[in-house]
């Protein structure tokens, strides 16, 4: 029931170092075969935020997983972020932020808040409900917001 198809984009690239360059050229990407998954309508889902651990150094990624690009519409020249077709969840990768007085949200808007690297940031739940994942960072210190 509620079978959905989620297109999972796997970026075959290594981000060396800890900060990402502004305006970097798009990472080369390949598209894996679509993954079929049973996705329930996610109600009020778990709230969690995690810092990125210091993983063991992975020397190289020798090859991408077996990829079979069966969809001619999937082109590696496509921008990494685009509205999802269907109901898959699209992570938000390069979030932009506004100061309090620039925000259009009302005081009763439900948000998740985080303090990280000396900065406070709020994430409206209505946006998290669509993306479920935000890959964020403050001053090159990365963290993951997941809802």
């Amino acid at each position: 029931m509620n079978k959905l198809v989620i297109a999972v984009v796997f970026v075959v690239a290594m981000a060396i170092g800890c900060s990402q360059t502004e305006g970097a050229t798009p990472l080369p990407s390949q598209v894996t075969p679509t993954v079929e998954a049973t996705v329930a309508i996610l109600g009020p889902t778990p709230l969690q935020v995690s810092t990125i651990p210091d993983p063991p150094v992975v020397s190289t990624i020798s090859s991408s997983p077996a990829t079979k690009d069966s969809n001619p519409l999937n082109s590696s020249t496509e921008p990494r972020q685009r509205p999802a077709t269907g109901r898959g969840f699209v992570p938000l990768d390069d979030p932009l932020f506004l100061a309090i007085d620039q925000s259009e949200f009302a005081d009763d808007e439900l948000v998740l808040g985080v303090e990280w690297a000396g900065e406070a940031r709020a994430y409206p739940v209505r946006m998290l409900r669509y993306h479920h994942i935000i890959n964020d960072s403050v001053d090159g210190s990365p963290f993951l917001i997941t809802y």
Partner: protein, 226 residues
């Protein structure tokens, strides 16, 4: 700043109706609920959880007057119009977890010292929004502000002293500890004039639905108000 490389994540199917994540850099599969790497090159690693309180924008910007807020100007801005309806749920779609509670009951899920415990929001409210407890041999306080809709847990000790907290307001929410009599906010910060910030240590905790919590942690203890 980390010596390692940055990982970025996307969603990857479901496990017990809770989505999993995949990092793009190594292809490792991670759980959403507790940030564990369950398959792939980084298997066995775990992400560190930091506080992510749910609250209202009005409450948050009062507590953090220099906060920023995520801009809704994204390529997906037309997808944010659906109002958020907390608690609306189709139970047929989440037949996971155990039957101690209905599947979609919201709890503050707490993990400390390898021990898990769920605190239903209803029971936290009954208890006045402050529960002093001992879990895994550690003294913790679970706080829940019904108006701000915030629920989190902290270690209730400071400077070697174990503190006991209570809601000092009859009709609102105001956390004090009995030992010093001073006020604390829901983010674990002592409201003690100026100077150095004093705050309680965060205990990994978040608001979640019972089905996922009890499916991932079947051994979870359950708090019920007396």
């Amino acid at each position: 700043m980390l010596d390692g490389k940055r990982l970025t994540f996307e969603t990857f199917g479901l496990l017990d109706d809770v989505f999993r994540m995949k990092d793009r850099e190594t292809g490792t599969i991670w759980t959403h609920l507790d940030g564990k790497a369950i398959a792939g090159p980084l298997e066995g690693q775990r992400l560190t959880m930091i506080p992510l309180p749910q609250t209202t924008w009005g409450e948050w910007k009062t507590a953090y007057d220099d906060t920023l807020i995520l801009s809704s100007e994204t390529p997906f801005s037309d997808r944010y119009v659906r109002p958020v309806q907390i608690g609306v749920f189709n139970p047929r779609e989440a037949n996971y977890g155990d039957d101690r509670l209905p599947f979609n009951i919201l709890v503050v899920g707490v993990e400390i010292g390898g021990v898990f415990k769920g605190y239903p929001l209803f029971d936290l409210a009954l208890a006045g929004g402050v529960v002093n407890d001992a879990v895994g041999g550690m003294p913790i306080v679970v706080v829940y502000d019904q108006i701000a809709r915030t629920g989190l847990a902290y270690l209730r000790q400071h400077d070697g002293q174990i503190l006991e907290f209570y809601n000092a307001s009859d009709d609102g929410y105001e956390i004090r500890d009995r030992e010093t009599g001073l006020l604390w906010d829901i983010h674990g910060r002592k409201k003690a004039g100026s100077g150095e910030e004093v705050r309680l240590e965060f205990v990994p905790s978040f608001i979640t639905e019972w089905y996922g919590w009890s499916a991932y942690h079947p051994e979870s203890q359950l708090y019920l108000a007396e």
